[in-house]
Amino acid sequence: MASTVDEDDREPAMESGEADDGIVVREVCANGISIKTTEVEAKLDEGNIQEAESSLREGLSLNFEEARALLGKLEYQRGNVEGALRVFDGIDLQAAIQRLQPCIADKTPPKKGRSRSESQHAVSQHAANLVLEAIYLKVKSLQKLGRVTEAADECTSVLDAVEKIFHQGIPDGQVDSRLQDTVSQAVELLPELWKQAGCFQEAISAYRRALLSQWNLNNESCARIQKGFAVFLLYSGVEAGPPSLAVQLEGSYVPKNNLEEAILLLMVLVKKCYLGKIKWDPSVMEHLIYALSLCSQTSVLAKQLEEVMPGVYHRVDRWKSLALCYCAAGQNKIALNLLRKSLHKHEQPDDVAALLLAAKICSEDPYLAAEGVGYAQRALSNCIENEEHLKGVGLRLLGLCLGKQAKMSSSDFERSRLQSEALKSLEAASGLESNNLDLMLELGVQYSEYRNLNAALQYAKKFIDETGGSVLKGWQLLALVLSAQKRFSEAEVVTDAAMDETTKWEQGPLLRLKAKLKVSQSLHMDAIETYRYLLALVQAQKKSFGPLRIVPQVEDDKVNEFEVWNGLANLYSSLSHWKDAEICLGKARELKEFSPEVLHTEGLMCEGRVKIQEALAAYINALLLEPTYVPCKVLIGALWSKAGPDALPIARSLLSDALRLDPTNRKAWFYLGVIHRDEGRMADAIDCFQAAAMLEESDPIESFSSVL
């Protein structure tokens, strides 16, 4: 080839044969003869198509169509698309297609005369290619001239012709490679043309035609079309509708909307990649990540990422993406394990995003809080330069983790130190991110947990203001804080206001709150009424959420039926309506057979009927089910404290243990005071009673942490 070019360099007529990017067409070959093109080109440049054609026909002994096809290709390659179009317009391509069909479509018997049919195939395929390539080049010329709709129509005719010629689809390996190339190119070009023409429905049909018919495409070009279609489905905003019934096979998955079809195509592509059929294309995975996370299906996405061949992603990157997937799918344990790996000192221990995610996961679990504090501190020390804006996030998580850690600490001193540090971090975070609403709510909850009710009230109000009352948790917190301040009627007003801002279906938690508020105000009949309403809501929800209904993605607006029955049982037992209480308890037990809450209520009822042994048994059973169940610990302690001087040490240790778990339990403080008094330690008793009294003044009707 190089020598040819050298030779050409010496020729003066070179310029005329120059295509756009300097590649020069020099020779045309046919029937074993080849001629230089300079002469032909000169004629073409003069606009003399006929003469150019006849010189080819004579020089290469070609027929009219062959000569025209060659000329057209020559013009096209010279970049003279208008010229090419003029040449092609001279051929009656439709007639040529008509003539092609019988000779190829003739189905000769497979055994007899095989050689004859094969040679005929060769000849007719050659002829077919000549015509089809000519049309294809016409299509390309039209496209380049911006006449895309015409181009698309012509391109469709190429595909129609191919379909007519090969009724059963293109057989593998029996087709001339040039013909196959033309077919593949036409198949790939058609949807692009329709897209350029703005005819999106036609583009969709063209894509489906390309992918669902037998064109014998090679893997790469099929993959390109699949990706193109997936991208179109994902982003064009044009709804494709399900594919026609004709292509639907029994038992196979048929996508019914854009997202389904796009995800299917992308998954198929990913699979082809790791089967080695096509090259890895990073954008395919990104599209899949986008599509699956839009559908909230990150666990499926995790599976896809796990299947990616090693070497594609750096292992740390993969762990981090997987951690995001699992965390979004609520599988925090797996996510944390992956993050621990990626944050190992030999991997990327300073990655701020991973550190923050790990701290976030830890902040939700008191047992992991100490670990989370470490992550948050590491994140803070690495928030530099580009990531400095994440400092507020780091401080916020540090505060949350410290707050959780405080709950687990065994000494008072340690606890108060952690609590004040937690608040300090959260306040610092709020200084950096004054408009972070989550942080506002978290500060409110922290303050209320430490019984700084005025500060809590400020934050709760601010949160409702800034969210425009759109978040239920804000209302709940405000009502709880007010209830802790014993401003019950105001708390009720807040609850009612919140109910006006919610739909009936989501009023469950508010109704529960309201019932408890009524109980606190000794409005027992009102409370029963509210519980009854709540039960009706639960029943209605059960019916409509039935087995076939899709479970709502937001779980927290559903009322827990068990809680309702148990609460009602408690209420009835406090009114000494033992029968009603029994019935409610029975209902609760049907829903949850072994639960400390039920045993707790049962014990209270026994105690109310002065069956002390049974009550004790129930409380102890509750503790056996859940050793950290504080209310029963306190009640056992209370019972033992009345059982004479021998039992006092046991009672004291139980109560101390309860206070270690829940330092704000006023009843525990009270009974501890009783024990101290009975044992004659008056100063201690006074301290305990004081604590109990102070806590009672700030006791909410439900635990503050139930808000978060």
Partner: protein, 408 residues
């Protein structure tokens, strides 16, 4: 998008009076006095619902018949009249005149949709600090126009959704003024979508490659395993809403955005660019706006500055029910057909730039919120945007190879 500066001097057109205080402030401290407010709101509910129910039914029938942008004029003389009437009723609301060519155009609704001058006037009105009250004539016009049976007029209303949401979402937080006008428009969009979907949820059956599909064969063909598929609900079923309850606001706005997305390929680019710019502001990205100022439309930048001066609000809560449709719209703006065609020519469109800016801001926002799902979705879009920008001239596989020797 032409700039729209004259907003304050023409306030005579819409005089705000505290007539319809439906979405009344229910601040808990003062809630005792205002406990009557919801009852009042309930009273206005049936009127809106009564207007909506019959009208939207007919309109959903009209729009359900497939693509309707290029309709036959001879058959649509009534649609033309409807559009002309709408334009007539718009005239007294706007401060400046509307070009008469709009009414005489073959498709007046589309002409209105693409008339930058009029669009700018409406945008300016929507952005006025007093807009959106219950007696706002423009909101009433938008509401009535959306009820019409002309699908192109509906597009005109949808075109203003970004600017309307921007005004609504930033003001509704402080709840100083009644925004019943905005809410009526949003509720009518919500009701339309509820009707169109027959309240049904939108769900996606996540494919599983162990089952054969139309695009692939499976080595282990399971016979009857439809249950093994993952069903993902992308938009839960729709309950009717006669008023905007604050805990449902995100859902109503989200559904309005879902409706915007279903028509996204017919929405003018200027509206999409505005949407992208507002997303940046909602994400809370105020730092590097100056850098890209020249790319932003004048209206949006002004809006942002005003908001900032006003109360420093920009960042809004972005629950998934709002964020998800936002991400779908932004995905389209970034990689939808128009941008792609232009990207290949290495000319980044204004829309592409606006979209990538919005997505970057949302990515940072999701990092701040440590919202893993949003980090994944926005992160992938950021990477795809970067890939699109970096892509060197792609090989055109539909081009025939150059040959120095042409063989027959």
């Amino acid at each position: 998008m032409s700039s729209s500066s004259s907003s304050d001097d023409d306030s005579a057109a819409v005089e705000p009076t505290p007539a319809e205080e439906t979405a009344e402030n229910k601040e808990p401290e003062t809630a005792i006095e205002e406990i009557a407010a919801p009852a009042e709101a309930e009273e206005t509910t049936p009127t809106i619902a009564a207007v909506e129910a019959p009208v939207t039914k007919t309109s959903s029938r009209a729009s359900g018949s497939g693509p309707v942008v290029r309709f036959d004029i001879s058959q649509s003389s009534s649609l033309t009249t409807i559009a002309q009437t709408a334009i007539e009723s718009l005239k007294p609301i706007l401060p400046n005149t509307i070009p008469s060519s709009l009414s005489s155009a073959p498709n007046p609704a589309l002409a209105l949709l693409n008339d930058l001058e009029t669009i700018a006037q409406i945008t300016a009105l929507l952005r006025r600090p007093t807009s959106g009250a219950g007696d706002d004539n423009l909101c009433r016009w938008l509401y009535d126009t959306f009820q019409s049976s002309n699908p192109d007029l509906k597009l005109v209303v949808l075109r203003f959704l970004p600017v309307l949401l921007s005004a609504y979402l930033s003001r509704v937080v402080s709840r100083r003024k009644s925004l019943a006008g905005f809410e009526a428009v949003l509720l009518s969009l919500y009701a339309h979508e509820t009707n169109r979907r027959a309240s049904q949820p939108l769900s996606v059956n996540i494919p599983d490659l162990t089952h054969p599909s139309i695009y692939h064969e499976s080595i282990f063909p399971h016979k009857n395993n439809a249950t093994a598929l993952n069903l993902a609900v992308i938009s839960p079923s729709l309950e009717p809403h006669g008023m905007v309850r604050s805990t449902k606001r995100a859902r109503i706005v989200g559904v309005a955005l879902e409706l915007y997305y279903t028509k996204i390929d017919k929405i003018p680019e200027t509206s999409k660019i505005e949407f992208c710019e507002f997303c940046r502001i909602w994400a809370g990205d105020v730092n590097n706006r100056g850098v890209k100022k020249e790319e932003a439309t004048a209206a949006v930048v002004e809006e942002a500055e005003e908001e900032e001066e006003e109360d420093g609000i920009g960042r809004i809560p972005l629950p998934w029910e709002i964020l998800q449709p936002i991400l779908r719209v932004l995905g389209h703006c970034l990689l939808g057909s128009n941008s792609i065609v232009n990207c290949k020519k290495k000319e980044r469109t204004a829309l592409f730039d606006a979209a990538i800016g919005a997505i970057r801001s949302l990515y940072l926002r999701s990092m701040h919120d440590i919202n893993p799902k949003a980090i994944l979705a926005t992160g992938s879009l950021v990477k795809l945007g970067d890939m699109a920008m970096e892509s060197t001239d792609e090989i055109d596989y539909t081009e025939i190879p150059y040959q120095t020797i042409i063989n027959l």
